[in-house]
């Protein structure tokens, strides 16, 4: 048997530990909880960054108030481009959210243990991204105080019901279900960690707040068995849910008769793009959090490299979809389709098209190199270019199809206004503020799950040592 045995060192090379530095369970509790507990230890740069992003969020409030006061005319969308900046932003933010659910649900079902260090922050990111996404269609309606008309609530001021044949109403159901289920999933994951914070709390306020939020969780074995099953079921439900959300978002386009939109490739192409951009956003946030909060032992290069592999895979799927669209436009023999695609690549918006193509298809190819996948600076830059590219993808799809519709007399060119731009910037402010507050006040790493991974790791090391000792 001796020739089959491998030493612990060899084991590390084949399969590096997901938790580095060999901490005890208590070290983990200490490391993660102390970030949320010690006000004085909060770095100055947290206060500075949060004030800046908070101010940008304030600007978002002003822009939305200005829109409500004046009407939709303060935005640049006008005939023929009625869906412009705001729907681009809506699809962009919804897509960002998808990586969070992918990490928490799909990787859980696939038993990818490396997800445990990043799932909590990815799920939080999903929630904040969906909030940002919701702002755009809500205010695009022009009368956001009538938003309850979107839901089948019996009321006297509107004696009609919703039109369930319309993909726009499907979208309302998909996005609101997605937000609710993501919130439940996130909260269920948090409960055991909230109990940890409760039991560590020394001042009355924290004892009360976490005492109530933890719902009296006591980690009983009888509770864990229901808990683990509930978590598994939620993962099983979220997996088809996340695929359905971007599928339904793509139906908003695909069920129309616009050239460049009316295509069956949209659902898979949108889902792949969503995961691509979402992973890039998780990467941006994690690299910043890892650097500012010193989480190198928990968010290891192995975690980051795995994410970069997913970015490479989904980026290539997106590139393949771009080429397929072109091929089908030519192969269909439909002159409107052919025109729409030639116009995308070589028309007035060719600058946007080639920005998209470069950022999404060419740049991520550098990840074929292992050096690039493990280089922090490279991955930070690519995480940002990817999101620039994915924003332009939605812009290209929406604006280029609309600005040259079937009636040449109405052709036009879309110009965003300062309100458009400041609203988009404002949602970034909201997203980052929410994330910074989350990172400061709640455990950013799923403690109970990482402890489970650590326990496996300890027992595996034990088993390897025993075999090697024989």
């Amino acid at each position: 048997m001796a020739d089959l045995a491998i030493s612990p060192q060899e084991m590390q090379e084949v399969r590096p530990n997901l938790v580095q530095g060999n901490p005890s369970y208590h070290d983990l509790t200490e490391e993660i909880s102390s970030i949320t507990e010690n006000l004085k230890a909060t770095p100055m740069r947290w206060y500075v960054t949060t004030s800046i992003t908070g101010a940008i969020t304030g600007m978002l409030g002003l822009m939305l108030a200005w829109l409500v006061y004046n009407g939709i005319g303060v935005w640049g969308n006008n005939s023929p481009v009625f869906w412009a900046w705001d729907i681009t932003n809506f699809v962009f933010w919804i897509g960002i959210g998808h990586a969070g659910t992918l990490i928490s649900a799909i990787l859980f079902l696939l038993r990818q243990k490396w997800r445990t260090s990043i799932n909590r922050s990815a799920e939080a990111m999903t929630l904040f991204a969906v909030m940002c996404a919701g702002i755009f269609p809500l205010f695009h309606t022009g009368r956001p105080w009538r938003a309850y008309w979107l839901f089948p609530i019996p009321n006297t001021d509107l004696s009609l019901w919703q039109n369930f044949r319309s993909p726009l109403i499907w979208d309302v159901f998909a996005v609101s279900t997605y937000f609710t289920v993501s919130l439940l999933f996130w909260f269920v994951g948090l409960v055991p960690d909230l109990a940890t914070l409760r039991d560590r709390a020394v001042d009355k306020v924290r004892q009360y707040v976490f005492g109530i939020l933890a719902l009296g969780w006591r980690g009983s074995v009888r509770h864990w068995r229901h808990y683990e099953l509930a978590y598994l079921i939620l993962a099983g439900l979220s997996t088809p849910l996340v695929l359905s959300v971007h599928t339904i978002v793509s139906f908003d386009f695909a069920t129309s008769v616009m050239p460049g939109w009316h295509t069956t490739i949209f659902p898979p192409y949108f889902v792949a793009g969503a995961i691509f951009s979402g992973f890039a956003m998780v990467m941006t946030l994690l690299l910043i959090a890892r650097w500012t909060l010193h989480l190198e032992n928990l968010i290891t290069i192995k975690h980051l490299e795995n994410m970069n592999k997913i970015i490479l895979a989904t980026g290539s799927i997106v590139g393949y979809a771009y080429c397929t669209e072109f091929f089908i436009a030519w192969y269909s023999g439909n002159m409107y389709e052919k025109f729409a695609f030639m116009n995308r690549a070589f028309g007035p918006y060719s600058w946007a098209y080639w920005t998209m193509f470069t950022c999404n298809v060419f740049i991520p190819q550098i990840y074929w190199s292992k050096w690039a996948r493990r280089n922090l600076i490279v991955m930070f830059i690519i995480s940002i270019t990817t999101n620039i590219g994915m924003w332009f993808e939605r812009f290209v799809i929406i604006v280029t199809s609309l600005h040259r519709d079937y009636l040449p007399s109405s052709w036009g060119y879309f110009h965003p206004t300062y309100v458009d731009m400041c609203t988009l910037a404002g949602t970034f402010g909201l997203f980052l503020t929410a994330f910074l507050l989350f990172a400061r006040f709640l455990p950013m790493i799923a403690l109970s799950e990482v402890k489970g991974v650590l326990a496996d790791q300890k027992h595996r090391a034990h088993a390897v040592a025993e075999v090697a000792g024989d």
């Binding site: 159901f173 055991p192 039991d199 074995v221 339904i248 109970s448």
Partner: protein, 178 residues
């Protein structure tokens, strides 16, 4: 101290496998009312303590069917009974255009059932529990693995049960008040 005002005897272990061994030993001695408190799910403990599988799946399945039925009846009733309105020459009701909303509501109802069903089966929220009187309880959400023999167990004897936990290797064994 009589048994009536006791919750039970509680001791703490350093790691999961030790807890599983101890729980198995205590059960083999004929104790039935055991509980354990751990910072993360410890595998093998359910079987060692003889805890059956969770019934949560059935609750979620029923909720899922309810969600699908609600969505279909909503779309059918609003479109054909309450306010029939022909749009684009399409039928008042058809399964095809009902699928997306039906799917979403199935997921929504199931997720609510999974979460609230889980809390209900666990008897949560319940902000107070006698085991919180164990002075080292904070360890159960940090790095300790607690085993409790409850006072309601017919074999429970304050002194003997506490000694049993100590001989199995438990630290800080205490008799905890109800």
């Amino acid at each position: 101290m009589t048994n009536s005002n006791l919750y039970g005897a509680v001791g703490s272990f350093e790691d999961g496998p030790e807890l599983v061994e101890a729980a198995r030993a205590v059960r083999e001695l004929g104790y039935t009312k055991l509980d354990a408190f751990t910072p993360f799910p410890v595998h093998g403990i359910d079987e060692a303590m003889g805890i059956p599988r969770s019934k949560l799946g059935w609750i979620v399945l029923c909720a899922g069917f309810l969600g699908a039925a609600s969505a279909l009846s909503l779309i059918w009733w609003t479109g054909t009974v309450s306010y029939p309105l022909v749009i684009g020459g399409k039928p008042l009701f058809a399964l095809e255009f009902s699928i997306p909303v039906t799917f979403e509501l199935t997921v929504l109802f199931s997720a609510f059932a999974a979460v609230f069903g889980m809390f209900a089966l666990n008897g949560l929220p319940r902000l107070y529990h006698p085991v919180f009187n164990y002075t080292k309880f904070a360890g159960a959400t940090d790095d300790k693995f607690l085993l409790a023999i409850e006072a309601t167990d017919p074999k429970f004897d304050a002194e003997q049960s506490a000694r049993l936990l100590a001989t199995l290797g438990a630290h800080s064994v205490q008799l905890v008040e109800a």
